[in-house]
Symmetry: C2
Subunit: 545 residues, 2 copies
């Protein structure tokens, strides 16, 4: 019995594209002499399909893909993920299903039972949980089909669900487990995934074939890293990260478990490769080639540019330097040096004239009030408009260069430096941006050393430094991490030894700036808690604010 894992990069709603990709993988699996080929969760329609699922037409398109795949299942069994219709009136209208196709037909359907509805997930919004569990019999083997979350209630101290689907199936004596997943990346996830799979195979003493998606869908990035687990708890094989691949395994070998392979999981390598994948797929799936971004000479735009050059090719990334009267000399020279290092095109467009034009038309209305954040915002917004102008004229997508620390505390200008179609480093704290810059420079000084070592500054008033208005990033980032990733409250964070006034100030800044984040570009998600669809906060809330 040979089982093929097809780790593919799907595209939400691109039924024909996904189908052709799967059909090609079926052929490849046949070449590899596989008896079964397994695709990812909801592979017909891509993941997460979100409210497209509410359209009957979308479901019919998914069904059409399943039927086409069924026709291709003459000499090979196919396990595919797809939404299916709940025939019962009571309950949600759909199931999230694994379909077992063979001999030209749908032989069996197993619905998903555990529906993740936390962080970026919304599955109970659409799907009815499975109420029945039946193993599939095929060529003398019994197979337990599961979908993603179905195996995640094992190995947890605080399980989210009251049942485990495999507990229901184990009495039917399956020979192995198949899991169809769409399990989004974060830099700690591949380790956690192995821990959970280990807990499953050890509990049920069965081999498992775990098939993940690869590639990004807007902010959600899938790392692949599909797994073949032996019943002894060992990782028999781990597929590469951020790549498409069809690979075939002999069941007996996996049962024996005398092979072990796992990839290294270096945090910065993972983040780097995830973001490059995220940029590449955002542009590719939207049909765009060229990016534009502002280059300030600072570390954030430098790292963003570096990642964009690696994703799109330096010739497709246009840097725009927009100095003002408050810009330091090194801001231009550092930015130029960066562009030259990567070989990316760049332009220099001073903002003096538009900025002065705004000052002139507004000053009669400003009632002689002193220079303040208003004028700083005018500069940032003049830059935003220049970037959007070029973007509109030539069809670039503007990349947002805000980091997670400044997005958290609202240290950025809405409609100014917060412009952009995609936030590249918005899930990376400032200290992690430094680490990523060092990682990018590991073999060569791509990012000018001066951009890394100089004190961070928005350069919107004379001699401004970030540290004038913000706590040191070393401390700020730690407090933010406890609040955002670990959902610790003020009491808990203060008890960790942080200054009470500082903690309250930071938490307040995070909460009162929700309105800014609400209007920000989607953020490539690389941590366990990114801003955006995975963190849903009230704007008018009065809590810690």
């Amino acid at each position: 019995m040979k089982i093929s894992i097809a780790q593919l990069n799907y595209h939400i709603g691109n039924f024909e594209g996904n189908l052709q990709k799967m059909l090609a993988s079926v052929e490849e699996a046949k070449k590899q002499k596989a008896d079964i080929v397994v695709f990812g969760e909801l592979s017909t329609c891509g993941y997460p399909p979100r409210d497209f699922l509410e359209f009957d037409d979308f479901i019919k398109e998914s069904e059409h893909s399943v039927n086409e795949l069924a026709k291709a299942s003459k000499d090979i069994a196919i396990v595919v993920g797809s939404p299916t219709v709940n025939p019962v009136i009571e309950g949600k209208d759909l199931y999230n299903s694994a379909l077992f196709l063979y001999d030209g037909k749908i032989q069996q359907v197993q619905h998903k039972a555990l529906l993740p509805t936390y962080d970026i997930f919304d599955e109970y919004r659409y799907f009815e949980p499975a109420h029945e569990f039946n193993v599939v019999e095929f060529k003398g083997y019994k197979i337990a089909l599961t979908v993603c979350e179905d195996i995640w209630n094992v190995g947890n101290e605080n399980p989210l669900y009251v049942t485990c689907p495999l507990d229901e199936m184990i009495g039917q004596k399956p020979d192995f487990i198949i899991n169809l997943s769409a399990s989004p990346f974060n830099y700690a996830h591949s380790q956690e995934r192995i821990r959970i799979l280990k807990a499953n195979v050890e509990r049920y003493q069965l081999p498992m074939f775990y098939v993940n998606h690869s590639g990004a869908q807007t902010e959600v990035i899938f790392d692949g890293g599909s797994l073949v687990m032996s019943p002894n708890g060992k990782v028999y094989d781990e597929l590469p990260y951020f790549q498409e691949l069809v690979k075939t395994y002999e069941l007996k070998d996996v049962q024996n478990g005398n092979q072990e392979f796992e990839q290294t999981k270096d945090k910065m390598t993972l983040i780097h490769d995830a973001i490059v994948t995220g940029i590449k797929d955002y542009f590719g799936k939207l049909g765009f080639k060229k990016a534009i971004l502002g280059l300030s000479g600072g570390i954030d735009s430098a790292v963003t540019a570096a990642l964009a050059c690696r994703a799109l090719g330096a010739e497709n990334v246009l840097g725009v330097l927009m100095p003002s009267e408050y810009s330091s000399d090194h801001s231009v020279s550092d930015a130029e040096r960066l562009a030259i290092n990567f070989g990316m095109p760049y332009k220099i467009i001073p903002i003096k004239n538009p900025y002065n034009a705004f000052l002139n038309v507004l000053q009669p209305h400003f009632e002689d009030l002193p220079f303040n954040v208003t004028e700083e915002n005018l500069q940032a917004r003049s830059r935003g408009i220049i970037l959007m102008g070029i973007s509109n004229k030539f069809g670039h997508i503007l990349l947002n260069t805000s980091n997670k620390s400044e997005m958290a505390v609202g240290y950025g200008t809405l409609y100014g430096d917060m412009c952009g179609g995609l936030s590249v480093i918005g899930d990376i704290y400032k200290m992690e941006v430094y680490a990523l810059a060092r990682y990018i420079n590991k073999d060569k000084e791509w990012i000018p050393e001066n951009s890394i070592v100089k004190p961070p500054s928005a350069e919107l008033r004379p001699d401004q430094k970030d540290s004038d208005s913000l706590p040191d990033y070393e401390i700020l980032d730690k407090v933010l991490f406890e609040y955002i990733e670990n959902t610790q409250g003020p009491k808990e964070i203060i008890e960790m030894g942080f200054d009470e006034k500082l903690v309250k100030r930071i938490l307040r800044l995070v909460n009162i700036n929700e309105f800014k984040r609400y209007q920000t570009a989607p953020v490539l998600r690389v941590s366990s808690k990114a801003f955006g669809m995975g963190r849903r906060m009230p704007i008018v809330g009065k809590y810690l604010s």
Copy 2:
């Protein structure tokens, strides 16, 4: 047995404010000789608390409020909604509960069983459904406590859930039903609500006391309209819309059902009052007083200004007229007339200089390409910056004036006319904007007739009309309604008799402009399907696009 309904306007996370408001209502109910006073769903913390629920500190604050209310329950029973902790390790950590307080203590807790997770709702994200159902015994009566959605599985052709909580309780022979709700407004909702309550009281042959929230939380508006239903299916009383109130009923009278009162439900009155409430609470709950908006002389900004004046007082609404070389004469005169009619302050700031400054710095980079949407966007963005400049200097909130039709098809400039902290009419199609203008003008020409009758135009190039790039709004709005509110697909809409090419073009425009809506202000929700948290769409999806 006298039961008080306390229909209140809560504030998310404002525990002290909500508590004081409830304690005052307890006193009021006592004055009205009530035996029981009933508050809304999750009234300790406000609704929807969203991911604040993930913070232990937030739950402890809720528990503190319950304990304080319990202390006040010496001579009166109090029914309050609050999140409570699930003591069992398996399952979600919280319940959404109705707590029955009396004699200084929590006497009983009934958890919510049906957890809405569609449209704006995310309850399964946080809450475990109730597994047990017990009526409350009080002064010789048995009371069935239910929370919001618990009664919504009755009276539906396609019920979302496989159980009905009241079916579980009815065997315990309750005397009446209490329902704690936080049921968001849309213009058809009060009618639908009565239909569902009627189905419930007729099915169980019991009176029902249904308590809703009043007031807005960012985009979600609660209309109040709490209901007292007699077992004969008649509406015994319907509380006012968009008001706070404590009102007491004698159970026997309600059982007899020989009174009937229901408010008129005129669509435009409801929308008007809902939006005024939405603006008022957005500002009030964030601690702001003053609004700013651009006045173009067109209908959208006129209606937005009118609603803002009614919500905040005309003296607190600053209009800014920003003519360009493409502005018609009437654009300034109509806008001035509007401001004068309402008595609101206004300024005139031509955009010529900033716009020219952008053209000058950009033209060397535009490679002699012809005038196109880029230059139009530069004008819209120059206006956006001017408005944000004044907003920043004086602490106004900028109101967004986009309507639902243009938001749907992307007929607006990101960081330009799509700027703003709150979208006032973003859930109202263009034809409805006209109807609302007529409604506002029903007793007097507040909005200049010319703003209503002239052909809509963005005035961003010579002689431009909306109809140059968009289908007639009469047709566009109908197609959008079928697609957005009714989730009909292309085939269904074409079968209704709309032109195939036009339908496909419109649906494509809606889908490819998701990236713009992603970065738009929260939209006051008045329909059954508003853009924002209730409609969750992929950006990189390739579906009908």
